[in-house]
């Protein structure tokens, strides 16, 4: 709990070529926060997208106000981990929300869950409760479940979904974890949960529905699988 003040949520939105998705994500977030009455800010970290994402972000800043939409762009594609570090420097909330520019999360459930158990981290899971997916074929579901099974056996992480893209963290917890985590890309998301458990932080889970990206391609090919396995084995050997 913030000393004295009400809770404030800082949403970090790293973007790369999200011109189509960004306005919709922001609209959904603003609507959710207004409905729940929470204090919020959205920090858009664009890595020099060639498709004009930053220009759309500037329009959104005009529409919603620069106290609510903070633009903190970077000149080129510098990676997710550093985007979060960069975003956190400008975040004034006591809770940080990290999400992909995807359009499928019931954001308010996270706040509710956090309050329920006073959790340090709330993570979305596709594998429990009425979480799930939409528009996935059998092969993709099989790969997902298989990869998750392997992860559970090797890492015993204490969370059912490690590659989900939506998390709520207490600010100090996220800062501590960012110091300790060394992986790159999305393996770094997995590492955060594993380290969080080692450090004794509490993790609550909320079911999320993962609807396929409305715009843009979903990234799952042979390369992704190989790099996932490499990342998993690295975590297995180093955490």
């Amino acid at each position: 709990m913030a000393a004295g003040g009400p809770d404030r949520f800082s949403v970090l939105l790293p973007t790369y070529n999200e011109r189509e998705n960004l306005p919709l994500v922001v609209w959904l977030l603003v609507r959710t926060f207004q409905q729940s009455g929470n204090n919020f800010e959205i920090i858009i970290i664009d890595d020099g997208s060639p498709d004009g994402t930053q220009e759309v972000a500037e329009q959104l800043e005009k529409i919603y106000g620069s106290d609510k939409i903070l633009l903190r762009p970077r000149p080129s594609k510098l990676g997710l981990g550093t985007a979060y570090i960069h975003g956190m420097k400008h975040a004034t909330g006591n809770f940080i929300v990290i999400m992909d520019a995807d359009l499928s999360h019931h954001v308010s459930w996270y706040f509710i869950k956090q309050k329920e158990g006073n959790f340090d981290i709330v993570s979305g899971t596709r594998y429990k409760g009425n979480g799930g997916v939409y528009g996935w074929d059998l092969k993709r579901k099989l790969i997902s479940r298989g990869a998750n099974f392997l992860t559970q056996v090797l890492l015993r992480p204490g969370a059912s979904d490690l590659t989900g893209s939506f998390r709520l963290y207490r600010k100090e917890v996220l800062q501590k974890l960012m110091e300790k985590c060394v992986s790159k890309g999305y393996v770094f998301q997995m590492e955060m949960i594993v380290r969080a458990r080692q450090l004794g932080y509490t993790i609550g889970e909320v079911p999320i529905t993962f609807v396929d990206r409305v715009y843009g391609e979903s990234k799952l090919g042979g390369n992704e699988i190989v790099s996932f396995l490499k990342g998993l084995l690295t975590l297995f050997a180093t955490t």
Binding site: L24, L28, Q59, I63, G131, G132, V133, N148, F149, A237
Partner: protein, 94 residues
């Protein structure tokens, strides 16, 4: 001291492995009745196969019960429509 998961596995395997070797491989001085030794010898293989079956069954079950969220997808489409209309009204040029 925090051991890595790999470290835990290696320790566990070393422990179980040496216990198995001690009991099943007939070293002098430590003799169990023959039936026990006969059962112990193929045990690691049996356990491996059992784990393989468990894995297949678990992943198969989880695959079969993977939720397809029709409602969430429909709701999302609704939201997208509402968002585009609202944002256009507010002056966003897509």
């Amino acid at each position: 001291v925090a051991m890595t998961k790999l470290g835990q596995w290696l320790c566990g395997l070393a422990l179980l492995g040496s216990a198995w070797a001690a009991l099943a491989l007939e070293p002098p001085g430590l003799r169990l009745p023959a039936p026990f030794r006969q059962a112990l010898l193929p045990l690691p293989l049996y356990l491996l196969v059992a784990f393989g079956c468990y894995s297949l069954a678990t992943v198969g079950y989880r695959l079969a019960t993977f939720n397809d969220c029709e409602e969430a997808a429909a709701e999302l489409q609704e939201h997208i429509r509402a968002a585009r209309t609202d944002l256009r009204q507010r002056g966003l040029r897509f």
